[in-house]
């Protein structure tokens, strides 16, 4: 199944500017507020921002969501009131209602950034005022600065920077695993790393707002997600060193990811083999169920989350799919170098987007499956082009060995579904005796 590793520089990257059909970084609040359970995310923005978050999250019936928007009004913009006073008042109201909040995260938006509202200053002031109960952080999730998952990147970077300002907990971190993954995935990784004999492993973000363990030049970190440029820079500024690895998608990716960690910490090959053998076998077995659905299928990936290069690598190497184009909103060359090197020659890589032109390119290529956002998915389907909506990769447990089959299933499902629905179901199975 896994082809021999052919290192190949893919062709020139297509760089495009035009209409971007992507989410802004605010969207990351939807999974972050579930991950960090005592945090509250307060967007400082406009009605559009509030509308975005609730349109994306509104189908979840929360009696009390852990996110909200402080909507700027005419009088804020006209300078009739001091926006900092206004924000303080609204935050006080919020905390009165939600005394259980232990971390308040102010999230910057396009409007707040265009008028240059100083959210850093506001966060510092509020943090002082409340004596860090709750502690107050801020980051930018604006569309002008961030695309979708980059919101999480900025949030994690803010958590790391917080250590410089307020110090760390008493714990020491030898290994930081950065990037939010589903709880079940985190637990599996923790078990595997424990079995490899690693101690003082820290997941970023943690499930609560506790201060980060101490990160210093003895700390190594590994990225579990490919969209963490700012987070990596923040960790490096504290002296931590990045472990270069593939991202843990599929059997191959997960093994390479764990191997890079194991090698860094001098785990013996025998132990590594012993720990990973059974889960590797399971991952290969689970993935095999779906290979027939995806083998030779031509796949086109639109930019969305920066996970596209890793997904393409997995599709190509473990499911034998043919990749036509890998779009990514942003390519962190250094972090995804390993992923890109494993793509077969001839795959187009595109960074940024001009959506109309990309749609033309996609249609002309007549793909069997298009990985794209929800704004494009149904219109493609209506034209007979099978799609897999990409936001699901951010919301589904897909990393690690035990999820390798689930990840394959996500891609296979729309193709299987198409075959099922297209087949003639009108004939009744009941036959008269």
């Amino acid at each position: 199944m896994n082809k021999p590793l052919v290192s190949c520089e893919p062709g020139a990257t297509i760089r495009q500017r035009g209409q971007h059909e992507v989410f802004c970084g605010l969207t990351s609040i939807i999974w972050l507020h579930r991950k960090v359970q005592d945090a509250f995310f307060l967007v400082v923005g406009s009605r559009t921002c509030a509308h975005l978050i609730q349109s994306a999250a509104g189908v979840m019936i929360f009696s009390e969501p852990r996110f909200a928007t402080a909507i700027m009004e005419e009088r804020d913009l006209a300078g009739m009131v001091d926006m900092h006073d206004e924000l303080d008042r609204e935050v006080a109201r919020l905390l009165e209602r939600r005394p259980d909040i232990r971390m308040l995260v102010l999230v910057g938006s396009c409007p707040s950034e265009v008028i240059k509202f100083d959210l850093n200053r506001a966060a510092e002031r509020l943090d002082k005022r409340f004596g860090s109960k709750p502690r107050v952080l801020c980051y930018s999730g604006s569309g002008i600065e961030t695309t979708f998952t980059q919101g999480e990147d900025n949030f994690l970077a803010a958590l790391v920077r917080d250590q410089q300002l307020h110090g760390a907990s008493d714990k020491v971190a030898k290994l930081v695993v950065a990037g939010s993954v589903a709880d079940v995935v985190e637990d599996q990784f923790a078990r595997l790393l424990d079995d490899l004999g690693l101690e003082d492993v820290v997941f970023l973000p943690g499930r609560s707002s506790d201060r980060l363990p101490k990160i210093d030049p003895n700390t190594r970190f590994v990225l579990a997600q490919p969209y963490l440029g700012a987070t990596a820079a923040a960790l490096e500024s504290l002296g931590a060193t990045r472990i270069n690895a593939l991202f843990p998608l599929g059997e191959e990716g997960t093994t390479a990811w764990l191997k890079a960690i194991a090698d860094t910490f001098g785990v013996s090959p025998a132990r590594f083999a012993a720990v990973t053998e059974a889960p590797r076998r399971r991952a290969v077995e689970a993935t095999a169920h779906y290979r027939s659905a995806l083998q030779g299928k031509r796949i086109f990936l639109f930019p969305d989350s920066q996970m596209e290069p890793s997904l393409a690598r997995y599709l190509s190497r473990e499911l034998d799919a043919e990749i036509i184009e890998v779009g990514s909103p942003y390519l962190h060359r250094e972090h995804v170098a390993g992923e890109l090197a494993m793509l077969p020659p001839g795959v187009s890589i595109s960074e940024g987007q001009d959506v109309e032109i990309q749609i033309d390119r996609c249609r002309a290529a007549k793909p069997d499956l298009v990985v794209c956002g929800m704004g494009l998915a149904n219109p493609f389907e209506a034209q007979g082009i099978v799609t897999k909506w990409s936001i699901e990769f951010a919301f589904t447990p897909i990393q690690g060995y035990e999820q390798a089959g689930d990840l394959a299933e996500l891609f296979a499902r729309p193709l299987i579904r198409k075959a099922m629905i297209a087949s003639d179901c009108s004939v009744s199975r009941r036959v008269a005796p």
């Binding site: 035009g18 359970q37 406009s46 009605r47 559009t48 349109s55 604006s142 569309g143 149904n378 219109p379």
Partner: protein, 515 residues
């Protein structure tokens, strides 16, 4: 600044998108930052449209701010006109672009794109979605009827339908239902707009004898303009409910010069008989709280009271523009209208009113779920399940049938209600278990502690103390009226200075207030 957990309406440019997406041949160039394309999902996912909404976004980013975002806008305009070849171009700004002050109107004028350009001024920090839709529709109507003459010969039975739009609550089927009813009653429906209309259709608006405004929040300003400019009368009785449908048809027939007689189509009305049948007896005086857009809220309150025999214990809207109409309607039911777009206010009002049924929007579903009160959706904002595949109008006689079913469905059925009262301690059939016909609606576990802020049982009247016997007795009252009973008893006890509240007090209060 205003703290907002949920917003009932989107920004005004979403209203403009709804108009563009409703019509054919109209393209909207929206000056907006990267990310604002989320609004496409409202159409492709919630409404499940098969095509992308006709909107081109400039999606500028931070690095563009250093250069000329005006140039980005001009390029987007030219490209959109060339690629989509629309009959008309709407141009405008979203909230962030409004701060940049690039003036899309002025820029578009300088661009000679060879087609009519209609600039939109939508103040994002003051106005909201419905206003944006109404304003956009009005601008389009004005633009494409401007300078036209009314024909001298106009058939008196010809009319237009104004207001239905993309992302409108059940607008698709309402139009089908009302058009069918009107046609059956001898009315000639000429143009339906904005839903399905072209700009050429808009130019035909003055050729009909009168207008019918089905959704005033979107069609009202255009109808007023057509009346002022062309002298076209309009009807804005909303045919939601059997009574309102009769009134509506009577008014339309009168305006069309048709003789007064029973309308064609009333044979399809089953709701009236269903509500009269003895099975519906237990619906009498069920307390219902109504909230939504002004049109649907007022219509729902009237149906609830006059056609289903409920007791309206609260009525409100999030649309300040129509506050007066809702206040007037609320007077009919002896309640004070709630005019608020703050869902926390609505939640508080619902807790205080202690309804047995909530008729509201998607947000009231959240509130009702938490308070464990049955709920049905009557108005936008709604989620994907309220853009159903099946025919489900709210208007006309079939609409009344749909309403009867969907409002009664969440209530506990009569026999079950009786048995619950008689045998309270059944191990599988008790008031902690949800109605047996509603498995999907049963809250599986209590609300998580971390998310509980406002207690489901509203704070008791200060200083009221219940004896444990009285508390036990209170629990024997069915849960959907228990809150009301507690409150009444406490008010009664406070008035009479009774402390503590005993079983006696409970029954004294019951006798005092009746049900």
């Amino acid at each position: 600044m205003k703290l907002t957990m949920w917003t009932y309406e989107g920004p005004p440019h979403v209203g403009a998108m709804r108009i563009a997406a409703s019509m054919k041949g109209v393209h909207y160039v929206l000056h907006a930052p990267q990310g604002d394309t989320y609004a496409d999902l409202l159409f492709t996912m919630i409404e499940r449209r098969t095509s992308r909404p006709p909107v081109t976004y400039t999606t500028f980013q931070a690095r563009d701010l250093a250069g000329s975002t005006a140039d980005v806008f001009k390029t987007a305009c030219r490209d959109a006109a060339e690629r989509f070849k629309p009959d008309a171009l709407l141009v405008g700004a979203s909230c962030t672009a409004e701060l940049l002050q690039d003036d899309p109107a002025g820029l578009a004028r300088t661009l000679d794109v060879g087609i009519p350009v209609v600039p939109l001024e939508l103040p994002s920090y003051q106005k909201k979605e419905n206003w944006g839709a109404a304003e956009t529709f009005y601008r389009l109507v004005r633009n494409f009827t401007g300078g036209l003459e009314r024909p001298t010969e106009i058939a008196p039975n010809s009319c237009n339908i104004l207001g239905p739009s993309a992302l409108g609550f059940r607008n698709r089927d309402d139009v089908t239902e009302i058009r069918r009813l009107l046609t059956a009653n001898g009315i000639d429906v000429r143009v339906v707009a904005p839903l399905g209309a072209t700009v050429a259709d808009l130019a035909r608006l003055p050729q009909a004898a009168f207008n019918i405004v089905l959704y005033p929040e979107i069609g009202d300003s255009a109808a007023r303009y057509l009346k002022k400019t062309f002298g076209m009368p309009f009807i804005s009785t909303i045919p939601i409910g059997v009574g309102a449908t009769h009134t509506f048809l009577r008014e339309v027939r009168a305006l069309a010069g048709l003789p007064e007689e029973n309308p064609v189509g009333e044979a399809e009305d089953r709701a009236t008989w269903y509500a009269r049948s003895v099975d519906s007896n237990y619906l009498t005086n069920k307390r219902v709280f109504v909230f939504g857009d002004a049109t649907h809220a007022i219509a729902a309150a009237r149906i609830a009271h006059r056609e289903l025999g409920f007791k309206v214990c609260g009525l409100g809207t999030y649309m300040r523009e129509f506050a007066r109409d809702v206040r007037e309607a609320a007077e009919e039911f002896g309640v004070e209208a709630l005019i608020s777009d703050d869902h926390l206010d609505v939640e508080q009002a619902i807790i205080e009113a202690r309804p047995e049924l909530v008729l509201g929007t998607q947000m009231e579903r959240h509130i009702a779920k938490r308070l464990r009160v049955p709920c049905a959706v009557i108005s936008s904002p709604v989620h994907v399940q309220d853009f159903p595949a099946r025919y489900s109008p709210q208007m006309g006689f079939e609409g009344a049938n749909v309403i009867f079913d969907s409002w009664v469905h969440p209530l506990m059925m009569g026999l079950e209600e009786h048995l619950l009262q008689m045998f309270r301690d059944d191990f599988e059939f008790n008031d902690q278990a949800a109605s047996s016909h509603l498995p999907a609606h049963a809250p599986e576990e209590p609300v998580r502690a971390a998310e509980t802020v406002v207690v489901a049982e509203a704070p008791s009247v200060a200083d009221s103390v219940w004896t444990s016997d009285a508390e036990r007795e209170l629990r024997k009252i069915p849960f959907f009226v228990r809150g009301k009973a507690r409150r009444n008893t406490e008010i009664f006890a406070a008035r009479k200075g009774i402390r503590p509240i005993t079983v006696e007090t409970l029954y004294d209060a019951k006798a005092h207030f009746a049900r």
